[in-house]
């Protein structure tokens, strides 16, 4: 793969570190992470729990700041777009707003014209199969539907970068598969830069262009692998290919040691 020119790099990290001060002393969540993510890349991060993946995403989202290092996100100064929108892990829809208002939240906060909000939110609710439920409140929806609203909310905000923090981890296998398929379809429309966290190797291979395997305690990049499968992808067809299984096995090889090491560290910490 030819080296991407400087202009094509969307997210640029140099020696990015995050240290939390805890009662037991400093805890290094992310240790000198250096990473370039090209524009339009569907970038997956897999790693054991405690490897700082969520912290990394929160730094990118502007909800935390790094302790050291450089983070540059390439966005035209004149752009009207918000820098990023996040699909949070677990229930993050406002229970006091109906589906429509939840999906329109970002646009409302940026005071976009009513006609524009109507068109965009209508589009993404239709794409996620939620048009009939726009008046419903989150507590009236299933977990899968709630996560669809969360995805519609992020896409409707039309951000430069989409951040996804294990958005499907709480769903059952069937729902997960459907939503992965839907996510890929919606993503194909715009091909935004995506940073997606998961603990599922299957999910990483199914969705991603590039996978970073992280190690835990401290969080470091262990390896970065390009996913060789062509787009547009169909989740089921992809999984039927023998190459898919081989590739998943390869990624697992990188991850397995890390999971074991993280578990050993956890057990040592508990004892």
């Amino acid at each position: 793969m030819a080296a991407a020119s400087q202009a094509d790099i969307k997210i640029h990290m140099r020696d990015l570190s995050k240290v939390f001060e805890t009662r037991k002393g400093p805890f290094v969540a992310i240790d000198r992470l250096t990473l370039d993510i090209p524009t339009g890349c569907f970038f997956m991060i897999v790693g054991p729990s405690g490897c700082g993946k969520t912290t990394l995403l929160r730094i990118l989202a502007g909800l935390e700041s790094q302790s050291a290092g450089e983070l540059v996100i390439d966005q035209p100064k004149t752009s009207q777009r918000p820098g990023n929108s996040m699909v949070f892990q677990g229930d993050s829809l406002f229970p006091w707003m109906n589906v429509w208002d939840n999906a329109a939240y970002g646009l409302h906060m940026r005071r976009r014209p009513t006609a524009e909000i109507k068109e965009i939110v209508g589009h993404y609710l239709a794409r996620t199969g939620l048009s009939k439920f726009k008046e419903s409140y989150p507590h009236q929806l299933s977990g899968g539907m709630r996560q669809r609203v969360s995805i519609a909310r992020a896409f409707a905000n039309d951000p430069d970068i989409l951040l996804m923090d294990e958005p499907f981890s709480a769903l059952d296998e069937q729902n997960k598969l459907l939503l992965q398929e839907e996510l890929l379809k919606i993503w194909e429309e715009t091909r935004k830069t995506v940073m997606f966290i998961t603990h599922s190797v299957d999910e990483a291979v199914t969705l991603g262009d590039r996978i970073m395997v992280m190690s835990a305690h401290p969080g470091r990049a262990k390896t970065i692998v390009d996913v060789p499968f062509a787009r547009p992808r169909s989740v089921l067809e992809l999984r039927a290919q023998p190459e898919y299984g081989e590739f998943v096995y390869q990624i697992w090889g990188h991850l397995r040691d890390e999971v074991h090491r993280a578990r050993a560290l956890d057990e040592a910490g508990v004892a």
């Binding site: 990023n84 996040m86 406002f94 939240y105």
Partner: protein, 266 residues
């Protein structure tokens, strides 16, 4: 099979519900009837416990002369203004204290220190400062309503899951928008609880304040009845205040169902 067996069950449930409703209505009626009989037969002292029929007759008389309406509307107006002057500052301050750590650290000791003071105990001070006019009654109600709403609003904001603040920040909400879209609606369930408690407190304090320094209102009506030994009027006052309490609770519960729909079905 399941359809046929579930039908008698739902019937049974309906009957159960109706049975409870009937019991709910019948039991107070029986008590009233027993009271009436006891009063007529002279088993209880009618100077203290006049027969319900006498109380009812007095109620009709007070409605016909317009006296009840005069006192009721005086009390309601004081409640209304007290609710406004006590409730709105409590709400704003509560949300500010819930959102801002520094603010909370500064004001919490003052709130904690003044909250346990019985509000009835400050009536003399309020009368001294605000005089015998309307202001002292409104202030009493306002003070009584202030604390339950303040404390519940703070708790309501603190109880909001942090993820909602993260979402609002990530999606570009700033300042007032965070207040309007997260802090206020998120705290609303507990704010409603505070309002219900506050209204109850307001009813207690308005009757008390009117007994001491007023020439109108339900509290005055009852105090005056004691002075002229019109026991039936006292009972009418109690009846009306009890009815007010029930009506307020019903109305507030209905409002709660409408504005907090996500809690109603839980």
């Amino acid at each position: 099979m399941t359809a046929t067996s579930s039908q008698p069950q739902t019937w049974l449930k309906l009957m159960q519900g109706q049975r409870e409703l009937i019991l709910n209505i019948v039991s107070p009626l029986i008590m009233l009837l027993a009271w009436e009989i006891a009063a007529r037969l002279g088993w209880i002292d009618v100077r203290f416990f006049p027969a319900p029929s006498k109380i009812f007759a007095t109620l009709i008389k007070l409605i016909e002369t317009g006296a009840l309406w005069k006192h009721l509307s005086a009390s309601m107006q004081r409640l209304f203004w007290g609710f406004l002057f006590g409730g709105i500052p409590a709400l704003l301050l509560g949300i500010a204290m819930g959102l801002n750590r520094t603010f909370r650290a500064v004001l919490d000791p003052i709130v904690s220190a003044t909250y346990p003071i019985p509000k009835s105990a400050i009536l003399p001070l309020i009368l001294l400062i605000f005089g015998l006019g309307e202001a002292s009654k409104i202030v009493m109600v306002a003070v009584g309503i202030f604390y339950p709403i303040l404390i519940n609003t703070i708790a309501g904001v603190l109880e909001i899951n942090k993820i909602y603040f993260d979402v609002s920040r990530n999606f570009g909400a700033r300042g007032w928008q965070v207040f309007r879209t997260v802090a206020f609606p998120g705290a609303l369930p507990l704010i409603m609880t505070g309002i219900k408690l506050g209204v109850g407190m307001g009813l207690i304090l308005i009757s008390l304040a009117e007994m001491v320094g007023a020439k109108s209102g339900l509290g005055y009506m009852m105090w005056n009845a004691w002075e002229i030994l019109s026991v039936e009027t006292m009972y009418v006052g109690l009846l009306v205040i009890a009815a007010l309490g029930i009506v307020f609770t019903l109305v507030l519960t209905e409002i709660e169902r409408l504005i907090v729909p996500w809690k109603a079905t839980r």
